[in-house]
């Protein structure tokens, strides 16, 4: 390793992980919440006007900023009306105002037996007051007029705020740190020259054969990167594989055509193909028209590709990315035209169609492993190996958890609980 390069040693990786964890915990401890402390209110006194329509009031209304969120939400909870247990309460109406004396507006209602509500329409810059009223069916149907709420005890003020750290997802944070550490360790090993084994993936072994077939037949290669945008990881994986396919097409001097359905994919795919042609030493062979836009519409895109396939009869078609209902329309037409087809997607509902109508299919994670497999770059191979270590840990967790639960110890699986 050159002197100027940053070195990732196992010790440093572990230290980074510890420091990141500590940073997260420190950030979490920063008092960022500006919500008022909860304010218990005794609402046992009810105005005369309210008595005519409502049941007994609820007690101990508490309002507070909803924790572990991005702000904008206040949690209102209360002790049930004594009439609730007698079955006389139909609904609880929840009201909000920016001043203690109103005017109040209704922000929601919950059925009897529910004693909390999240107000998701709060502004972090405002303070609010809340009141809760229990009503029977008749009163709930009639509704309350604003004057009936005058003088009603309120809870507040409270304001919502965002938190930097979601403590309910600390397990996800730990998993992220572990996985990142595994990947960094493996990348370090790959960089230091250790040979990392990757098993054969049939669909990727066939890429060479598929490009070669198109060259021999003197026909085009079609590459379809799915119908989703660049904010989808499958599209990103598809465009990454496109780079490798384009490089081979440039080397073999075979025409590669990439019809896309999104403007951002168009721009990215053009960059990737252009770079691949340069890498292959054939920048002159690249034409911008090779990557072209059709339409954003899912079925319009499918209809256009179907037409192109039957008219131009490509020798090879790749489908790599995220697909929906158009998958079978595309793959079946390609199959009927006699093209060799290689598909890859992580959409569980579309994989059966590709398996049925394509020669090779990359299932789920094989799509994401493809770029490492095809390029054999140490960084990517190390990343793949690191992910395998993560999977090994999951397998161990499943075995331990299943055994513990079988023998009646239930706490282990709670380590994996994620609350939104």
């Amino acid at each position: 390793m050159s002197k100027g390069n940053r070195k990732y040693t196992p010790g440093r990786c572990a230290l980074s992980a510890v420091l990141l964890t500590a940073l997260g915990l420190i950030l979490a401890g920063v008092p960022v919440a500006t919500a008022q402390e909860s304010s218990p209110v005794d609402t046992s006194v009810v105005t005369d006007s309210l008595k005519t329509v409502s049941l007994l009031p609820v007690t101990d209304v508490e309002v507070r900023d909803n924790p572990n969120d991005e702000g904008g939400t206040v949690r209102i909870s209360w002790r049930p009306s004594t009439d609730d247990s007698l079955g006389r309460v139909a609904l609880y109406f929840i009201y909000r105002a920016v001043a203690a004396d109103g005017p109040f507006e209704k922000i929601g209602e919950v059925t009897a037996g529910t004693f909390s509500l999240l107000d998701g329409n709060a502004s972090d810059d405002s303070s609010y007051y809340y009141c809760v009223v229990a009503l029977d069916t008749k009163s709930a149907k009639a509704g309350l007029t604003p004057d009936m709420l005058v003088g009603l005890p309120t809870a507040g003020p409270v304001s919502s705020s965002a938190q930097w750290f979601n403590f309910q997802r600390i397990n996800t944070f730990v998993a992220c740190i572990l996985l990142t550490t595994f990947i960094l360790l493996m990348i370090q090993q790959a960089k230091s020259g250790k040979k990392l084994f990757i098993r054969k993936i049939a669909g990727l072994e066939a890429v060479d054969e598929a490009v070669g077939r198109a060259t021999e037949m003197g026909r085009k290669i079609f590459y379809v990167p799915g119908t989703q945008d660049m904010d989808n990881v499958q599209t990103i994986a598809g465009v990454t594989i496109l780079g490798r396919v384009a490089e081979m097409a440039a080397q073999y001097e075979t025409w590669l055509q990439v019809p896309v359905s999104r403007s951002l994919v168009l721009v990215t795919a053009r960059e990737v193909v252009k770079e691949a042609y340069s890498k292959a030493g054939r920048p002159d062979a690249y034409h911008e028209d090779q990557v072209h836009y059709l339409t954003d519409d899912q079925f319009g895109y499918a209809a256009a590709i179907d037409g192109m396939v039957v008219r131009e009869k490509p020798a090879t078609i790749f489908y790599m990315g995220a697909f929906y209902a158009e998958s079978l329309i595309l793959a079946e037409t390609g199959n009927a035209s006699g093209a060799i087809q290689i598909a890859g997607t992580a959409m569980p509902s579309q994989l059966p169609f590709f398996v049925a109508s394509c020669d090779y299919t990359l299932i789920g994670e094989e799509l994401f492993a493809a770029s490492a497999y095809l390029s054999r770059e140490p960084k990517l191979l190390g990343s793949l190996k690191g992910q395998d270590m993560g999977k090994a840990l999951i397998l161990v967790a499943i075995i331990i958890g299943t055994l513990l639960e079988t023998f009646g110890i239930w706490d282990f699986s709670r380590l994996f609980s994620v609350i939104d």
């Binding site: 990881v233 209809a303 008219r311 793949l384 397998l395 639960e405």
Partner: protein
């Protein structure tokens, strides 16, 4: 006017369906109209939904929208060849942010929740369920375990490990078979909907 629209819709539907016979001028015309109109429609829809509704009307309330505009302008620099390379920055931003966001989402949904759902008692006094539920639990645990083994890339699928991976791919293929049948049935309902349109709205044979 409505009647005219129904005739156009029927004409284009039949044009697309004619592809089942073979590629023909009718299909080509329908395809060109479909692609052209949908591309134009999406352009207008994105303009009104994003540029007008989100940015133009909301720019005062949310100053962060200017970040999006800035990145959009950088993207348009592709049109100027000398500084076109700058358009790679917003692309890098999108790809980087997407990867980061998805990492956390996948860890939460595909890892944590999946592991929690898989961990369940196989049998025993605390299980207290029927034989049917016990078999279901075993299938879930064994299926998830062997399926995960199939997706190991850094170990050769040989011996016991290979056998487990093979069991995993069997589980996956059986799931695909069930999913295939289910989806074909839902596609049949789409076909029925289209035939219903032709027979009811267009020809008036069903009232």
């Amino acid at each position: 006017m409505d009647h005219f629209a129904v005739w156009i819709a029927a004409f284009l539907t039949m044009g697309i369906v004619s592809f089942l016979y073979k590629d023909n001028p009718w299909y080509k015309l329908s395809e060109a109209i479909f692609v052209g109109i949908s591309a134009g429609y999406w352009f207008i829809a994105l303009f009104w939904d994003s540029i007008y509704s989100k940015f133009w009307l909301g720019k005062e309330a949310d100053p962060f929208l200017w970040v999006g505009v800035f990145l959009g302008v950088l993207m348009l620099l592709r049109l100027i060849p000398k500084i076109g390379w700058i358009s790679r920055w917003p692309l890098a931003f999108i790809v980087g942010c997407t990867s980061g966001l998805y990492l956390i989402n996948f860890l939460a949904s595909n890892l944590m929740r999946q592991v929690q759902a898989t961990i369940q008692p196989l049998f025993g006094p605390d299980f207290g369920a029927s034989l049917y539920a016990a078999v279901g639990s075993i299938v879930i645990v064994v299926g998830t375990f062997s399926g995960l083994v199939y997706f190991f890339f850094s170990k050769e699928h040989k011996g016991a490990f290979g056998a487990t991976a093979k069991l995993g791919i069997w589980f996956i293929m059986i799931t695909f078979g069930a999913s295939f049948g289910y989806t074909v049935m839902s596609r049949m309902s789409l076909l029925i909907g289209r035939i219903d349109f032709l027979l009811t709205d267009w020809l008036g044979l069903i009232r």
